[in-house]
Subunit: 245 residues, 2 copies
């Protein structure tokens, strides 16, 4: 039997948001690898080996998947959300580049509902006009690069979605992000803190930039900053599709 | 019976990319409204009324859905891709704002696989690092705003995804977009033209910016411009997760 690797997005947490394509790949798999909390979302069954691993082990996990596929196994690498957005797909290609012997591996990337779009849907349509997605973690890039992108996103009039806004290892950085936003945007700019979207722990909070506090975000939060036209209607938050000439 | 409106994302075209949540909403619906090519993707069944409408009729379509819900009907507004990304969700809230009598309507936004993420998955992981999504149509904003956003996205080091890059009514504008990119980016910058992704007409083409031609895009194309680190590995296109300090 020929082995393969599928990098699959499990969406934000609700099984009703997992595509049939991903469900079919999981049903055909011999092995599932991924960060332990994501692997924990996969129902065990006979013949399926689960390989949970720690955070920040993306490269060794991807190499392990390619090696198993070369042995004929059918491997699904699970990501939360969409595998192409700050997740495992890019890590797999980094490993393939470093290990050219796997260049012909049978690989499929299976998209999923990424956190910012799930959060936007729960809140209304805050990403209804041009927007940016920025990973605020400085694990893989210097914070100066985060700052440069924040300023260009604000000056370009983009709404913004932030992944990994704050963690125990870098608690002070998100305060700096809010300071930068306050330098670039008006105090009434609306910010959505969407925590654990589409799970039983879901909590959505919208505040003005002037009232935003670093503690409103944690690693389970996606933050969406509106553009200057983003507004509320009833209980909803949305960004109009138009920009006046 | 109490009426409701669900704004549902059908994904890029393949039924295997429609979430179970959207399938359930369609199964419970009494009425489906939307742009005719999207309504054509819904299987007819007894008791389901289909209401196809023309492009650029977003506001009248949304108002019609709210009025049907007020009469107790169960209405799904269908969008291609994700309803929150350059699609019907923002249009619905614009209408709600203009018609406050509908402020208490029972509304749900059901996310879907948006075109840029489906295209990215088919090509590899070109949006694997910070990126922007820009609607190139100037139907609802002046082209000067498109230009401002392009320049900030390029100077911020973002990868970019373009929706609605080119249409019969504005054939020359995408040539101008390519000119702006050539002013801001190096000639070897990689660009993906992803046409009709996840349909039988799918065609993926990656070229360097220097070789990009306006005719490579049409209204069924999503265009993804890599950042300066975006590269090929085997048949894949990907953007590394890291930025060197």
């Amino acid at each position: 039997m020929t082995g393969w690797v599928a990098v699959a997005g499990l969406g934000p947490g609700d099984a009703a948001l997992i595509t049939p394509e991903v469900t079919a790949a999981l049903g055909a798999a011999s092995d599932v690898v991924g960060y332990a909390p994501y692997v924990a979302r996969i129902a065990p069954r006979p013949g399926l080996r689960l390989h949970p691993s720690d955070n920040r082990e993306e490269l060794s996990r991807a190499l392990s998947a390619l090696r198993m596929a070369a042995e004929g196994r059918r491997v699904v690498i699970v990501s939360s959300g969409d595998p192409g957005v700050f997740a495992m797909a890019a890590a797999l290609f980094e490993v393939m580049e470093a290990h050219p012997g796997h260049a012909d591996a049978d690989i499929r990337i299976l998209p999923g509902i990424t956190a910012m779009l799930a959060a936007a849907a729960r809140a209304g349509a805050p990403l209804g006009h041009d927007f940016c997605a920025i990973n605020l973690s400085d694990n893989l890039k210097p914070f100066t690069e985060v700052e440069r992108r924040l300023r260009h996103a604000a000056r370009g009039g983009f709404a913004m979605a932030f992944y990994n806004p704050r963690s125990a290892s870098r608690p002070h950085q998100f305060a700096r992000v809010l300071d930068i936003l306050r330098e670039e945007c008006e105090p009434a700019r609306l910010i959505l803190f969407a925590r654990a979207v589409c799970t039983s722990d879901e909590r959505l909070t919208t505040v003005q930039l002037a009232d935003a506090l670093p503690a409103m975000a944690d690693m389970r939060t996606v933050v969406i900053v509106g553009n200057e036209a983003t507004r509320r209607v009833g209980r909803w938050l949305y960004t109009p599709r138009s920009v006046a000439p």
